[in-house]
């Protein structure tokens, strides 16, 4: 198996950061994917992750992200891209909320706008050969690359996982209330606007963390598929969270192995495995729903029987 060879061979140092970052990203994104799916933020996530491409263009032209960039520059690049993504998320939320525009329209505009900006900046960088060495290959940026992940990236991803998990735990009650029933949550004094902002910021941060490995286009897959699959299988919050994490980890590690074995880029490999799990779980979800329906029907029958008897 190539995987074992790579991870134990003389060049193991080149592969290990991708594995560490992959596990960290899978954990944080799987946790986030549950509120993202419940709150229907999947498309906003797409918008934000594509916006990252604009941020990447900026980072490249500023010489922070070329192949010659060092660790400090790399951290700077991630911060810049994160700022770009958060600004996009807030822009979308603001324009579609107070601005009164349709959310899907706004997302559509931000998505293409940021992609265009990124493409123009990368093109300029390649043509004028600006700072930071040669321009990184666009395909790596779009679909991810094992070797783009540095030990620094893996470390940042691990820290971010801790921060995201802590934030989700700390705000679990208002987040749950807001996700479940926004108008009522507001009337009960839950700061709903702040909850949405918090989730969007966490989403943007997670996208940036997974961008190098999964690529700009596929970074949101992990923020949708684990939660969507888990929610198809169970209607118990604890079970959903546990399933989501399990599915995220299997998808990530399975995808990385697939990528090592077949030389596929990691992004498409991970997304492919996650999609396969989603499809395989489909019959299970139908069964879970049918069971639930039977349970509630039998309860209705019982209560009407007891009413009839009384």
């Amino acid at each position: 198996m190539k995987t074992i060879e790579y991870l134990t061979g003389p060049n193991a140092e080149l592969f290990r950061p991708a594995i560490v970052a992959g596990i960290a990203i899978a954990l944080q994104a799987s946790l986030l994917s549950v509120p993202v799916v419940l709150r229907r933020l999947a498309f906003i996530g797409q918008g934000v992750s594509h916006a990252a491409f604009g941020g990447v263009g900026l980072a490249v032209i500023l010489g922070l992200m070329g192949t010659g960039a060092g660790g400090a520059q790399n951290a700077g690049a991630l911060a810049l891209i994160a700022a770009f993504c958060i600004a996009t998320a807030i822009g979308i939320a603001w324009l579609s909320g107070k601005g009164g525009a349709r959310e899907d329209t706004v997302i559509g505009i931000f998505l293409v706008g940021a992609m265009a900006l990124g493409a123009i900046l990368l093109h300029l960088h390649r043509r004028i050969g600006a700072a930071g060495g040669p321009t990184p290959p666009v395909e790596d940026l779009l679909f991810g690359s094992i070797f783009a992940v540095t030990p620094g990236d893996a470390q940042i991803a691990a820290w971010l996982t801790g921060a995201i998990a802590l934030a989700l735990w700390w705000f679990r009650r208002p987040l749950l209330f807001w996700s479940f029933d926004e108008p009522a949550a507001e009337a009960f004094g839950v700061p709903t606007a702040r909850m949405k902002l918090l989730l969007l910021v966490l989403l943007a941060v997670s996208i940036v963390a997974s961008m190098k490995l999964a690529g700009v286009i596929l970074a949101t897959a992990l923020l949708v598929l684990p939660g969507a699959t888990a929610l198809n299988i169970s209607r118990r919050l604890g079970v959903v969270l546990a399933l989501s994490i399990t599915i995220g980890l299997i998808g990530m590690l399975g995808g990385l192995v697939l990528s090592f074995e077949t030389d596929l880029p990691p992004g498409p490999a991970v997304v492919g495995v996650l999609c396969a799990i989603y499809a395989l779980a489909w019959p299970a979800s139908r069964m879970a729903r049918a069971t639930q329906r039977t349970e509630s029907l039998s309860e209705v029958a019982q209560s009407s029987l007891s009413r009839g008897a009384g």
């Binding site: 419940l38 735990w169 700390w170 705000f171 679990r172 009650r173 208002p174 749950l176 209330f177 996700s179 479940f180 029933d181 926004e182 108008p183 009522a184 949550a185 507001e186 009337a187 009960f188 004094g189 839950v190 929610l231 169970s234 209607r235 118990r236 919050l237 079970v239 959903v240 639930q292 329906r293 349970e295 509630s296 309860e299 209705v300």
Partner: protein, 287 residues
Amino acid sequence: MNTHPASVEFQAVSFRYPTGGAVLSNVSLRVEPGEFLGILGPNGGGKTTLLKIMLGLLGGYTGNVLVGGVSPKVARTKGLIGYVPQRNAAELSFPVSATQVVEMGAMRHTPPWSRGGSALQSRVQECLRLVGASSYATRPIGALSGGQVQRLLIARALAPNPSILVLDEPTVGIDAAGQQQFAELLSNLHRELKLTILLVSHDVRTLAGASSRCDRIACLRRTLHFHAAPHGLTPQVIAEVFQHDLASVFGDVHVDAHPASECCTHDHERHHPNPASRTNGTSGGGS
């Protein structure tokens, strides 16, 4: 007795959205503690705006609003109003149990590091018991009927121990038998907990069901009109206020010259076969 603050008091309140016309115009309202008031109004008549102002979610109105003697925003932080939203606003495929729904109301201000403690847990159980939902406390909400979810939302509203219960279109999507049980539940809560209850609906059937319990009925269409409702919601009363919009309020309920409270006890009369009587109602009041 007149010195106590009203449960809800609107003094000459008007509101207009920046882009539209007046939604509320010179609305005055005083709801005494322990009163059961039904507010009936057509869609677009200002019900939602009235509720939002009452709940402290909407500013920019003229006039004065007091809830329990304080401003709506203060009342909201004190949890004076228990709010039961429209049921369809909640996501029913959501992975939460009945108990977790009620916990949302009980623990909304519990600090993150605390698990809530036994006092809060017993409060949650107490609220489930009050609405008769204990038997399905552990079930996921997706497996519950419309009426059962409705009870949960009431339990959640009761959890912060409010003195006022506000219900927004509570019977949408609930069948006739469920509506009857719902009216009984409200009546029991009103009696047992000495709650002030405000029930807002566009559907005359909802108020017809509850109107035998209501002390007064108010009709809202930009302005409020009050009617003592000793005999329930009479067609004459409604026709007066909804001269232009009867059809949308009544739907397929007939309007003829008998009190609406009778209407709900004679179920066979609910869907009146004679279209002439409906025309009679829409044209001006079944007089």
